[in-house]
Each structure stands twice: as C-alpha cells, then as structure tokens.
Point group: D2
Chain length 348, copies 4
C-alpha cells in the first residue's frame, strides 16, 4: 500500500501519543516527524516510557521539521498556539487540527469563549468542521480540518439527526456531560493529581465551558428552526482515564412521536461503521467504547409526553479526539474510513 | 453519659457496617445486638475483616435477639423483608428503617414502584419520613422513622427551600444523579464486579428508578403549587466507592430572581450543622463530604433568564443512609444532633 | 491472505473475550465458532455489550460446534473442565489451552496443586509448554499447546536466561508478585466486587498459589543446577484492571558479576519482538505494556554483593494469557509472530 | 477536659490536613494556629474545600504565629526545611516532627541519604524516634519526637519483636513494600497525575529509597546480633489513595521454630490498642486499616524450613504519619493513647 508521510505536532500530549498508537501500524501511513517544543531532542520513549517497544522519530521543534515530503500534519497544540503554528506551515500540507482554533466560524464567538482575537482568520474561512459523519464530503477535499471537541462530538451525534429533521423543540435543551480525566490533557496541575481526582466526582465550569460555543454553532447549523437555540451545559469529571457520556434532555416538537424520533436516529446511522444506536432499553456505557472509535447511542422516553432523553458514549481520546482525527485523515486520503480503527473496545 | 442499647438488623451489609463504624464510639450508645440472617453465629470480624480491631456482639438471627432492654433498632434489610420483620418487633422498640418500605405514604404508589402489596400499612400510617432537617419535630417523637433514600436526600435538600417558598416553576424539573458504587450494596452480582465497574461510567434505570416515587412525593408535599409535579430522573454509576452528586435543572417562577433564590437557600440552611450552601461559584464535590454527614450545595444560573442549576453533594452511605440514621437517632433521643457525627471528610 | 478457521471455547470469560478482541481483525483468521455452555444461544453482544459493534457467531455449547472445517481451537475453560472437553475434541484440531490442565508434566505434581487426578494424561505427554520465546520450535509442530499461567510467564521470562547460563545461586529465590484483578476472571464472588477491591491492596494465597508448581517445574527445567530449586511466592491483588509485576530477589553464583548477568539477559532478548530489557535504572511498569503483548524487564543490584533484583511487567490478559495464545497460534501457523499483536500499550 | 493549644506547621499538605481531621474534635486539643508559607492569608477551606464545614484559624506564615500559649507543634514540612524551622522555635514548645530530619541518629547517615549536612545536630541528639509502641517511655518526656516514616513503621512493627528476641538470622532480609499514592504528598508533578498513576503499578527507587537508612538504624538498634544487618528494599506505588503493605522475607535462626516466632509476635502486641496479629492464615489487607490508626500483622511459613514471611498493613497517613503523631501527642500529654484515634477503618 502506498505510504503517506505524516507529522504530529504536539506529540508529547495525550492526543499526540494516541495518534502515535493508532498510526504506528496504519498500513498507509509513515510517521515521519514528531514535534514537541519543550522536549525537542528527546526520544519519544523518554517522554512516554511505553513507546520504548517501537521505533519512532526523535522529538524535535516544529522549526526543524523538514515538511517537504510530508503530506498531512496532525496538530495537537493548545488553542492560540495552534493558530500561530498552522499559519506558518507550508501550503502543500493538509492539516488536521485537534485544538479549538478553527472550529468556530464566527470570529466574535471565538473571542468570546477563548478571550483573544483570532490571528489566522483567513485560514478559518476554509476550515471544515471535522465531525466525520456529518461533514464527510467537505472533509474529503479540505486543506484544514478542525477536529471537533470531545463534548461537542458526544453531544452532537445524537442531536443532529433529530434537529435536521425538525423533530426537536428549540427550547429547554440540557446537556449533562461526564468525562474521564484524560480530557484534561497532561498538564501538571494540583487538581489533576491522583489524590485529588480518584474516588471523587465533581461538576466544573458549570454552564461556562468553552465547548458551549462549538455545540451551539453546530446545533444551529443543523437545526431547521428559525429560533437561535441555546443550551444549558454542565460538565463533570469522572474518576476514570477515558470515556465520556452525554445525557441530553430535550423535548420533541408537538405532534412528533417517540417512535418517529427513534426511527430517524436509527436510520441515519445504520450504515455508519462507528455509530451504533443500541436496541431499546440498552444503556450506552463507556465500557462499550473504551479504546475504540465507536459511539453508542440510545433514546429514552421522559416523564411527560414530549420529553426525551438521549444518551451517547464515546472514548474522549478516540472518537472525541485522535480516533476521529484518523478517521478524517482516512477520508481525506480516500482510504476506507476504518483503516487502523478496526479495534473494538478493550474490555476488561 | 447514659447509654442507650441499640440493635442493628441487617448488619452484614454496607449500611449496617457503616452504622457500626459510627456507633461503636457513640458516647450514648451501646451496640447490644447485631442481626444477620445468613451469617448468624459468625463473629462480625468474619464478615468484615476490619472489625477484628474492636469488640462486637456475634451476628445472630433476628428471632434470637433479646429485645427486652433494647431501645432503638436500626433496620438495614432489603425492602419487603423489612416490613415483615418490623411488623413483628416488640412495641416498646423505636425503629429507624433504612429500607424503602415506610417512605411512601400512598400504598398504591408503593405497589407501583416496588411491585407488591404492602403488608404493614398500619405501621406506615405513623411512620415519619426521616429527612432530618425538614421533619425534625416529627422525628423527635416518632416510633418509626423511614430513613430517606440516598438519591431523594441529595435531590430534596436543595429543592425543598425553593419549592416551599414557591420560587420554582412546576414544569421541566430534571434531576441528573450520579452515585458511587456502595449505593448498590454488598449484593454479589456480575455487573458489580471490579472489572465491570472500574474505569467505566454508565447510566442505568433511565427514568425508571424506584426513588422517583419518593422524590415526587416529597416535592409535592413541600411545593405550594396546585399542579402535581413530575420529574425526569436519570441515575448514573460513578467508578468510586462513596459519594453522590445531583445536578438539578429547574426554572424559577416568572418574576423570581436568581439572587432571591440564592438567598432563600442560604438562609434556610445557615443554622444547620450538616448543610452548607457554598460561596458563589464554588462547585460541590464528593470529596468535600466523603466519610462525613455533611451536604454541600450550590446554585448556578442557567442560559436563559429563568433557568437555574442546583448541585448537591453527599456521601451516599452517610447523609444518604447511615449518617442520617444516626442523626435521626440523636434527634429521637434528645441528644445533640451531631453526636458521633463530628467527622469532617476524609481527604485524601 | 489464507484464512484459518478457529473456535474459542469458553468465550464468555475475560481471556475468551480478549481473544475475540485480538482475532476479530487478524488477517489470517476467521472466528468460526464461540463456545459458552451457560450462555448457549445468546449473541456475544448480550454477554459483552461492547461486542455489539461487530459481527460474531452466536454462543453455542461445545457439543453443537461443527469442527469439521475448524483448524485451531482456543480453550478458555477452568482447569479440570478443560481436560474433559479437550479429551473429546476431534483429532484434526490443534489446540491452545489457556487453562492449567496441560502445563504440569508430572501427574503427581498436578494432583498436588489441583487436588484431583488428571484424566487425560495421554494428551499431557505430548503437550508443549507455550512460553513462546523458549519453546518456539516445539510449539511450531505441537498439536496441544499448554499456554502458560500469567504469574509463571512474568516470573520465568527474566529468570530463564540467568538459570540457563548457570548464573544464579539455587538458594533463596523469592518472587513477590502483583496482579490486576482481571486475573481472577469473571467469576461472581463477593471478594471481587468493586467495593471490596478498589482502594485496597492485599496479599493472598501466601506461598500456596497453584502457579508455584508451574514456576518450579520450568525453573528446574532450565536450570543447570543439580539441586532442586524451590521458590517463595507471594501474590498480591492490585486495584487495577490489567497488569502484573514480578519483583524477584535472587543471588548470583559466586564469581558472577552484575554486568555479566545484565549482558546475558540483554543478549538473550535483543531479537525478540515482545521482550524488552530496559536501559539501566528504568523501572518496568504495567503502564508500559497495558493492552499489548510486550514484556518489560530490568535487573537491579541488591544490597550485598551477590544479591540481584529482577523486575518484569506484563499485561496479564495479553502476554499472560490471550496475547501469548495468539503468538503461539501465529507460530503454529507459520505466520509472523506479531500478526495482530502489533499494538503498543494503550496510554493513558 | 483541659485543652492544650497546638499548632500545625505545613498545614497545606496531606499529613497536615490529616492532623486537622484528627484533632479538630480531639477533646483535649485546641487547634490554635495553622502554618503554611505559600498560602499564608488564605482560609484553610480555600486550600482544602472539605474544610469549609468547620471553623479553623487562617493559614499564616510561621513567623507570624504567636507561640506563647501554644504547647505542642506538629511540623509537617519537607526534610531540610523542617530542621531550619524547628531550630528557631521557642524552647517551651514540644515538637512532633513528621519529616525525616530527626530520625537518623548518625549525622553521616543523614548526609548519605539526604544529600546535605544537618544544621541542627544539637536538637537531633535529644530527639526520640517516635515509634510509639517501642519508644513509649522516651516519648512521654521528649521535647522533640521524630515521627517515623511510613515504610519504616510498617516494616519495623512486625520485625522488632523477632529481632529483639534474637529469632532472626541477620542475613537475607528482604522488604517488598507497596504504598498508596498519598505517600507522595501533594506535590504537583507529572508522574503523580491521575492519568499517570491510575490503572498502573510500578516499583520505584529500587533499593535506593531514603527510608532504607531509617529502617536499618532501627533494625540494628533492636537486634541482638553483633552483625550489622542490611536490607534489600523495593517500594512500589499502588493505584489507591491510602494504605501500605510490607511483605517481608526473613529467615529464622537455626533452632527457632515457626510457632515460637508466632508466639513472640502475638505476645508482644496482645495489649496494644493499635497492633493486631491476625489469626493464622488471615492475610493483612489495607482495607482493614484505611482511615484508622490500626496495624494488622501476620506471619506465614516459607518454602524451606527457616524461611518466614511477615506481612503488615497500615494506613500510610495514619499509623504511617499523622495518626501515629497524634498517638505520640497523647503519650506526651499523659492522655489515653487512643484519644481521637478510636475510629475503625472506613469500609467500604
């Protein structure tokens, strides 16, 4: 199989090392360069001991990477830094950016949530939002794919078919989200210590999380409603490494029945390799998807006639980050979408 | 200090052993008998190895317990079994029942949720719902206290002051609840194995959990609304031993402001030893209460004008079960309410 | 690539489902049948929810499996049951048995540790002990491979090169072993509940674990010493899902130096795909191997001249069970040894 | 009861906050001051959210503490810093130091393990090693108690009675130790992040841990052997918050029998409130002691005649640190030794 050279910038973080895990045996990919500013010069195995079992390029600063024969770059940098780096990448590169920098189409919304003016608006204009199942055609030809956030991926997948078919009441949308700790990355902070996290559970950034802007953008993009939809969003930290659940409370439009909603959801995803609407009454669980690119979804009836409860489960590092990034790369390269993503969940 | 003799029936489960932990050093209590049907004849230390460090009565069947000099019985049996046992207890005993058997005042509601006809309705009539802070006066003189469920305790404490003061819109009440695994008790079931639970997160009994009946009963009891309030309730299992969070989405009545709601909540609990409304923007977390009888609560603004988000944290075995049971015993005996409950959370 | 049909008997346990995970995408394998006595008739996805994302044969009882076009059988049954089933399998099948039934070459030793007389001694005679790196040639042509236990694999890999080269004093060999909980399988027992395991650590079967017989058999098989070597062995349960560490205390023969021992170890494994002697002072850790078939090993100096400390890390379900079973199948089929085992550890 | 004023210096760490947990309800203690250099001026509840439920002094720098009416100071600072601070404390204070600074009686040994010259040797001369059960009489009158390390406490308690009675062969002593993560304190380091620790197990500082000096000092102090005893010591990190197990491999002197050793151990501790030699074959486990000051111990036979295996379990923050510190304070003040330490383990 023809090998495409790729580079990973920001390889010393968790989404970076997850890309290494997925790509080091991808039959059509050759990992050509690993960028990591602060660890430049180190072997990858010095930064992640489990990498000592395989051969990888040394970590290097972005400036020293020879991009001439590289085709695709995965960018795993923090927001703000990401736009600075991507702005200066050679034009022949196709880029999959895992940061938030190119997800928000409206510059003022970006500034509202991220607190600074965007410095690469010209790139943002042509960026494609990388929710694979819903932007597949645009991703195929994109130069720059803005890989979605984990919470948005998990919340949007169950919502979009219902919104797009005008089944949902635009009012009262509530997303109660729960994430494993790897979502916080490898940043060294007291509140992320083992002793501060394990055996505890807590909400954080109550209704103020930056992913709200991204979720609302896409909800309104897919909604047929004229009304601007806003959400209530409370994320919580679960004492586990990987996994994410969104429990979504919504109301059906008057006249829409629960079976109709269920049918629309099932039909929309029945041909998708990674999205699984479960049989009635089987609850999504992160154990169903841990270590895999799969998403499990179900829909339940609420207490009053129109109320429904949507639940979705993903692995935040896979479908919520690096797995979807590889899926997007496969789309961009015209490969089978599940290449190197065939793994089912690791259980136990 | 005068010693009151007590017995614990169902001492081989987690709420039973939590009562032993709390009561073995209670200055006004003497643990006189421990009932455990299947383990009758064993030392407590054979059933729970950590009890080998202290002296306790042997486990025995209920029939063999001499209740003549016992004053208070804690009943930690499963529902249905509990009513059978309690029905036949000598009349001089005062009883704190930790099962669901005497919590529901309406026999038909009991049958709806628990699937069988109640066989001790004459007792249920005089049972007092043991949410300590809100039924204190009745508990004081009660013969039979129906100790609340963990989810109801966690959900009701933040809601009751707002309902009682007519601040909440009766529509659209959503309770998204998360519990540590000890809530499932010591029953030996595949889905409770370490390998099935750890590193995973999942909803269960979506909108069908038995505690819904109990929560709705108390919500309507305290509400000033003429309308029957119903809730949407989704519980989730968190891979941790103890702790519970309820994230509650509600709407204020038109004309009620967020500061008003916050004030009512703060004022109601400012003199309570165990209920703490946190400063603005500090989020409740189970680590704040683990191993203690405390509850932490906060209120947050939602995305649209009337929407609020209430969050409460308890230890499900303490304020959610055995801690509140001891608090109720203290009330019944006229003791200081926090006797033997002075512990702050164990952290780390 | 030519497809070999395989069957997994005992597919409802953890080693069975790990084989499914590894083999469902093995390019040269077709999973033809899944045996599971108690769950016969169920879909695999009903027994393990995460399997709903892929197509698999239904579970069936062994008697109903059509073995005519099956080439290899993986047997994941408990000991004693395993020998009964294997005894009656058609002679054309090649078998990889993950139980302890065919590991011990001496029938009296088998009876000593497993408490009953072996009923298939004729098969045991031709069974090959499946420690891949040290029995590769025999495995290639074996009809029946006795896949090693997890503790023996982890303890023997660092010891064998030193024993085979006569570097170790036969006295005073101590193996202090630590295992994740999946090693206990999916059996439903109180002591394996989440609440009994998490946040705790304990030794068990102190110097009485059944794997002692297996370890001593192989130690003496590879040792050049005339003396029968016995070990002290204490296993411990670690509150984690997967992973195993053996910390081994041994003494070098007089005159043997630490660098000599290190060199022998390094040289023996330098061409092995799955065995990695780490650079000096880097400690093995289960995170280096979780979800992979890799083993990491290091050797450290003890406090007195001859004392050494060997440490090895494996994933108990991979190199300690199903991973090594697939490695052995690859050897038997003449495939590249790491086919379908290319994964590096999943971290985080 | 008469109240003794105490101060805790280094109150923002885990041993400090554990002292707060134990002492805030101690009937004979009044927490008068909390020292914390970097957080001076903050409320304790800002540093540990779970402290918001109780009243405590503000954190302040040591220089600003008025020690005039304080009787006892607990010092929870890092080594080196501790000696600097204690050197300058007013002479009327009695001090319990939880650091390593005053544990080693030989200044050269201190320098060997801690890498710098001790600057308060005059104090070290009069320091008493605070292993409560074995230095009780000296502790009673000490001005400065050097509270033992967690590993030394756990290793020494089972060894001392056997050494003191000359039952152990001085050769070949091996201590394989396992600790929960709180032993590492609240220091913010990458290797202590939740994602780096959970679901993994690893040895560290193989045979190079600083506690070796302390263990060897006390072993030789209690041994009747003329020979200087050295140990092999490998500590491991267990993915749990609290708890410690030492698995100790030793040889009995020729002529000493296993029952003799067991008897000596049992007799030595039968009157101790916190040390429990378990019945034969019951294994110590951290769950037996979590959150309590108790120690459980057992002795097992090894594979050859003289070999024994000693196992001890403690809570590293309790008997391994703050619990023993309070026990020592109780001794110093002539109080019942278990005052404020009556808690049995918190299980589940």
């Amino acid at each position: 199989m023809q090998k495409h050279n790729i580079a990973i910038i920001g390889a010393s973080g968790y989404t970076g090392v997850e890309l290494i895990r997925l790509l080091h045996n991808h039959p059509a990919v050759n990992i050509k360069a690993l960028g990591a500013h602060n660890q430049a010069g180190l072997e990858a195995a010095q930064v992640f001991h489990h990498l000592s079992v395989t051969k990888l390029p040394k970590l290097q600063s972005v400036e020293t990477i020879d991009f001439s024969d590289i085709e695709i770059v995965f960018c795993c940098l923090p927001h703000a830094t990401s736009q600075q780096i991507i702005k200066n990448l050679p034009p022949h590169l196709r880029i999959i950016d895992l940061s938030a920098d190119f997800r928000l189409r409206d510059a003022s919304i970006y500034k509202k949530w991220y607190g600074h003016t965007h410095i690469a608006l010209e790139l943002q204009q042509n960026a494609v939002y990388g929710l694979s199942e819903h932007y597949r055609n645009q991703i195929k030809h994109a130069r720059l794919v803005a890989n979605p956030g984990c919470y948005p991926t998990c919340a949007l997948l169950p919502l979009i078919p219902l919104l797009a078919n005008n089944l949902l009441n635009p009012d009262g949308l509530i997303i109660d989200a729960k994430s494993g700790i790897s979502g916080a990355g490898r940043s060294v902070a007291q509140h992320l210590l083992y002793n501060e996290i394990s055996e505890g559970f807590s909400p954080y950034n109550v209704n103020q999380h930056r992913h709200i802007g991204e979720i609302e953008q896409e909800i309104n993009a897919f909604s047929n409603s004229l009304q601007n939809i806003i959400i209530n969003f409370v994320p919580h930290l679960v004492p586990m490494r990987r996994g994410m659940i969104c429990t979504i409370y919504a109301k059906l439009q008057n006249g829409v029945t629960f079976p109709q909603a269920r049918d629309i959801l099932t039909q929309r995803y029945e041909d998708e390799a990674f999205i699984h609407v479960l049989p009635a009454n089987i609850t999504p669980s992160t154990h169903q998807v841990r270590g895999s690119n799969h998403t499990t979804i179900n829909i339940f009836q609420g207490s009053d006639a129109n109320q429904i409860i949507l639940i979705a489960a993903i692995d935040n590092l896979m479908k919520g980050a690096s797995g979807q990034a590889v899926q997007n790369m496969n789309i961009m390269l015209g490969l089978s979408e599940n290449t190197a993503l065939e793994a089912i969940a690791m259980f136990p």
